[in-house]
């Protein structure tokens, strides 16, 4: 029952874009890990990332091989199992750097908080595809998605991983606003928020407030995040227009950048390729986002539409938060840059995202 229209509708453009971004990622990871000084030239990480890239391709094709509308039925089971994994992480996860984010199953270490982003998109898409209408969501209709989102967000907060928790919340809010909230409900929610936030602020202990302030403004922590941001800005700024040249970055080479192959990989790239390279990358991300939105636009199935918007929101926010962070515009959070950062969980998540977008794109004609 193979449909030839699947081939004619195959989204070659999106595939090409994903491959270009992934290749830029590999090239950047190579620079970030090989420039590490002795005694830790971590070339091994580069080879691992090539393997992840390959696995990602397989996962991507697996994700587009079946009709995405099956996911409408699987959304809830997927969501529940992801939440259970988050629960397991909170209880038995591997403690690293003061928080529990990793689940270890034999040789596989992975972060369920990566998967939960997609699960939240799926379950919200399923819900809104049924409930949304042109008058906008009423308050009552909005309670359930809020609870659905709050559950994993709460579990991620206790890991603690404020960045990812905020990211999941942002994705959920974006999808909700997209399907439209009735004006009265929106006004009410904003009013409640405006009242609750200061009240909670008053209830917080001093050190908790300080932690939040530091989170929002890294200059409060000149020895930690603030210092990293300064070094990141020096790296980016010193790249100037044309960059220092591939593998010529000095900030990176001297390990002044923290996590240079994961969270701060954009700084490495911007230092070596300059404004020309970094702006090109941002441009490619913009093309990706607009392409995704156009897929949403052309899709006539409500579930597929919301799903595509949700996936775009997921990628968009990670790009904006990560790049914004390296340039001192956003809080310092451990959010990887899609396609570019080193990491298995992140690579697989991005592959699933691309696979889903292509899936929606190539099956847009199948709506009866």
């Amino acid at each position: 029952m193979f449909d030839r229209r699947l081939v004619t509708n195959f989204d070659w453009g999106l595939l090409g874009l994903a491959l270009i971004l992934g290749s830029i990622g590999l090239v950047s990871v190579y620079s970030a890990v090989t420039a590490d000084p002795p005694p830790a030239p971590q070339k091994l990480l580069f080879y691992k990332q090539i393997v992840w890239f390959g696995i990602g391709l397989v996962v991507m094709f697996a994700t587009l091989s079946f009709n995405y509308r099956l996911l409408e039925r699987w959304a809830l089971p997927i969501f529940i199992s992801c939440v259970l994994m988050l629960l397991a992480v909170v209880m038995f996860g591997k403690l690293a750097g003061g928080s529990r984010r990793w689940l270890i199953l034999g040789p596989v270490h992975f972060q369920p908080s990566e998967m939960i982003k997609i699960a939240v998109v799926l379950v919200l898409a399923k819900y809104y595809a049924k409930t949304a209408d042109s008058r906008g969501l009423t308050l009552r209709e909005i309670v359930r998605p809020m609870l659905i989102t709050a559950l994993p967000v709460g579990l991620i907060v206790v890991q603690p991983d404020l960045g990812t928790a905020g990211l999941v919340a942002l994705i959920a809010v974006t999808i909700t606003l997209f399907v439209k909230v009735a004006r009265r409900s929106l006004a009410l929610l904003l009013a409640v928020g405006a009242a609750v936030v200061p009240a909670v602020w008053m209830l917080l202990k001093d050190y908790q407030r300080r932690r939040i302030l530091t989170f929002l403004d890294p200059t409060h922590d000149p020895l930690g995040a603030g210092y990293h941001i300064i070094q990141s800005k020096i790296a980016i700024g010193s790249g100037m227009i044309t960059g220092k040249g591939y593998l010529q970055g000095t900030q990176n080479a001297l390990s002044f950048l923290p996590e240079e192959h994961t969270d701060f990989i954009f700084s490495v790239l911007a230092e070596e390729w300059g404004l020309v390279g970094a702006a090109t990358l941002i441009g490619l991300f913009a093309v990706l986002v607009f392409r995704g939105l156009s897929i949403a636009h052309r899709c006539r199935d409500p579930f597929g539409k919301v799903l595509a918007v949700g996936i775009v929101a997921l990628l968009f926010w990670q790009v904006v938060i990560n790049i914004g962070m390296t340039m001192g515009l956003m809080p310092v959070v451990g959010v990887p840059l899609p396609f570019i950062s080193y990491g298995g969980s992140s690579t697989i998540t991005v592959a699933i995202c691309v696979g889903l977008l292509m899936n929606v794109s190539m099956r847009r004609f199948m709506l009866e």
Partner: protein, 622 residues
């Protein structure tokens, strides 16, 4: 299909997608604008800063908390130390600079350059510590020639100073460089390799209070590594001051009394478990550890026959000798194998299983009851009691008195001592308990091992009417400004397994040891303060027939004395051990008595030990 999405094709939904696209567009424009600003507008500034990594982080060490005695006498403080460091990348001609520097410091240039070797790549930007604690003269020279010494920096660091030298060295302890294991254990945050932490004694036990939190500053340096401006500073949080329960005057007197001896003395307040003095002899010089001790001195300390690095008060394990008769007496009375009126005939020995077990008094004590047996330390009486009790009942009482287990004082490592039982022996040696061994156990010989601190705590419990307190060395923790963060409170951890009547009998016996006509420690008697105590002699080798033979010093018995005073309302309980000191009354008794006097008469500091013509002799026979 619901109405909203039915209209998916119409302009209205298109509008929402267009709206999202616009939002995204704005975000990307902001990112690009920021990027352009950083790279094209102010890029040159960052370019300049990146050339020699001008923005650096300097760690500010927190001043370590002080250690003080109960009256606020400072025992450990901090002093500034000038350390010379060198950043190879800032120097240009590194070898030339090092040669000049070596001349100013009067050391060999090879020595300095060997320290800088292998510092390439990232390492070249890290300052290498060349010389610690240079004198003020060398400091003046280097500061004056600063401009000719690019890459050289003098850091003022905080260094520990033990004000009274070796005073209370075992108690206060010492610092050392943090080990990789301690780092990976990650117990204290903000610990970096090269940091010093408490390794022994109070410095170790209260590390978390004393340490504080490091601060730091972001600085911009010029091409030769000199700080041009400070961008941002986070102050260090100084460590907390730790006030000990130790009384400086009593501690000093105790150490004086132990001079030239291998041994230990502990004094505690029987009413609450506060440790008033804890001395171990010979002491060591903790200041030698501050800048790292050299191998030769370390070896000398390690191989010293008197083990100066060991805190004999908590780590030294000795057979308790006759001081253990306190436990045997309690067990005998409580188990009702004897009562106040029971008597045994002492002929100077007991024959058991074809062997003679001798009393220390060859000619025998004659007919003795519990009172006389304690006062005159009759071995035969306690052999008999032990026979009736059996080893396991003795062991139960000894453990209930707090022996054979750590006291919980918190000074690690603490020895547990050993209280043998039949099960223990079977497990340890695989052979059953011999009844004859019970006789040795009953008078504190054989496998029995106790620490001076354990015996002091037992004596304290006898003195206060049976309450066992956890020994405490911490009085309170204060911030630098004197706000009390933590105050340590008495902690009762149990009761002696003895009725009031039993304790009264034991107390009377101990009082007679010092004040009775034939007590074994009459020389300890004071006219104004009534002391109760017990002597002890713990054999290093088995008691030989015809004990008048010459015994080489290292095989001589250890001498014990435990006591408390005043008997009416005890305020101090003491245990003293002198290694190879032979007899308790002669070697250790006077030490304990002088400690009682120093504490209860509040002798002025430093008064010479000469009054009463007492001399403390090692191995002297009285």
């Amino acid at each position: 299909m619901n109405p909203y999405f039915k209209s998916a094709d119409n302009d209205w939904v298109k509008q929402r997608i267009v709206g999202l696209s616009l939002c995204a567009l704005v975000a990307f424009i902001v990112l690009l604008a920021r990027l352009t600003y950083l790279q094209a507008v102010v890029g040159e500034d960052y370019q300049r800063l990146s050339v020699n990594n001008s923005i650096r982080l300097q760690i500010i060490d927190p001043p370590r908390g002080l250690i003080l005695d109960t009256n606020g006498v400072k025992l450990a403080e901090n002093r500034p130390s000038f350390d010379v460091a060198f950043t190879p990348k800032d120097a240009g001609n590194a070898l030339g600079v090092l040669e000049d520097l070596a001349a100013y410091l009067q050391v060999s240039a090879d020595d300095l350059s060997s320290r800088v070797k292998d510092m390439r790549g990232m390492g070249a930007f890290r300052p290498v510590l060349l010389r610690q604690d240079i004198g003020r003269d060398a400091l003046a020279v280097i500061e004056a020639r600063k401009m000719d010494l690019p890459g050289v920096q003098v850091d003022v660091r905080i260094r520990r100073n033990y004000i009274h030298g070796s005073f209370a060295s075992h108690l206060i302890g010492y610092l050392g460089e943090v080990s990789p294991e301690e780092l990976s254990r990650g117990t204290s945050t903000g610990l970096r390799s090269g940091d010093t932490i408490g390794k022994f004694g109070v410095e170790r036990t209260f590390e978390a209070f004393l340490r504080g939190e490091p601060g730091g500053r972001q600085v911009e340096v010029n091409a030769s590594g000199q700080v041009m401006r400070v961008l941002n500073t986070v102050a260090a949080r100084p460590g907390r001051n730790v006030h000990l329960t130790i009384d400086h005057a009593l501690q000093q007197r105790t150490e004086q009394l132990l001079e030239g001896i291998a041994g230990a003395a502990v004094a505690v307040d029987p009413q609450n478990g506060r440790v008033l003095a804890m001395a171990s002899s010979p002491p060591f010089a903790p200041n030698a550890f501050v800048s790292g001790i050299d191998a030769a001195r370390w070896d000398a300390l390690i191989s010293h026959p008197f083990r100066p690095l060991e805190n004999k008060a908590t780590q030294g394990e000795y057979p308790p000798g006759s001081t253990f008769k306190i436990v045997t007496a309690i067990a005998g009375l409580e188990e009702k194998v004897i009562d106040e009126t029971s008597t045994f005939d002492c002929a100077g020995f007991v024959s058991f299983a074809g062997r003679d077990y001798r009393c220390w008094k060859k000619e025998g004590h004659g007919r003795v009851d519990i009172h006389r047996a304690l006062a005159e330390s009759c071995d035969v009486f306690f052999y008999r009691v032990g026979q009736r009790l059996g080893v396991d009942r003795i062991a139960w009482y000894a453990k209930a008195c707090g022996l054979g287990t750590g006291t919980g004082i918190g000074l690690e490592p603490e020895a547990r001592g050993l209280i043998p039982s039949s099960v223990w022996k079977k497990k340890r040696f695989g052979v059953p308990w011999q009844d004859g061994e019970t006789l040795s156990i009953a008078i504190g010989q054989g496998y029995n091992l106790t620490t001076p601190l354990q015996m002091a705590m037992l004596t304290a419990a006898v003195a206060n009417g049976g309450t066992r307190y956890r020994p405490r060395i911490l009085d309170r923790v204060e911030t630098m400004d004197g706000d009390v963060v933590l105050r340590s409170l008495p902690e009762a951890i149990g009761k002696l397994p003895a009725s009031a009547r039993t304790l009264a009998i034991v107390q009377q016996g101990l009082t007679a040891v010092v004040n009775g006509e034939r007590g074994t420690a009459r020389r300890v008697h004071l006219n104004d303060i009534e002391i109760a105590g017990k002597t002890g002699t713990s054999q290093v080798v088995g008691r030989r027939e015809g004990g008048d033979d010459y015994t080489p010093p290292h095989l001589r018995a250890h001498a014990w004395f435990v006591c408390y005073a005043p008997t009416s309302a005890p305020r101090i309980a003491i245990a003293v051990v002198v290694e190879n000191g032979e007899h308790g009354s002669s070697a250790t008794g006077p030490i304990a008595r002088e400690m009682v006097k120093a504490y209860l008469r509040k002798l002025p500091n430093g008064q010479k030990l000469a009054d009463d013509g007492v001399q403390v002799l090692v191995g002297g026979r009285g």
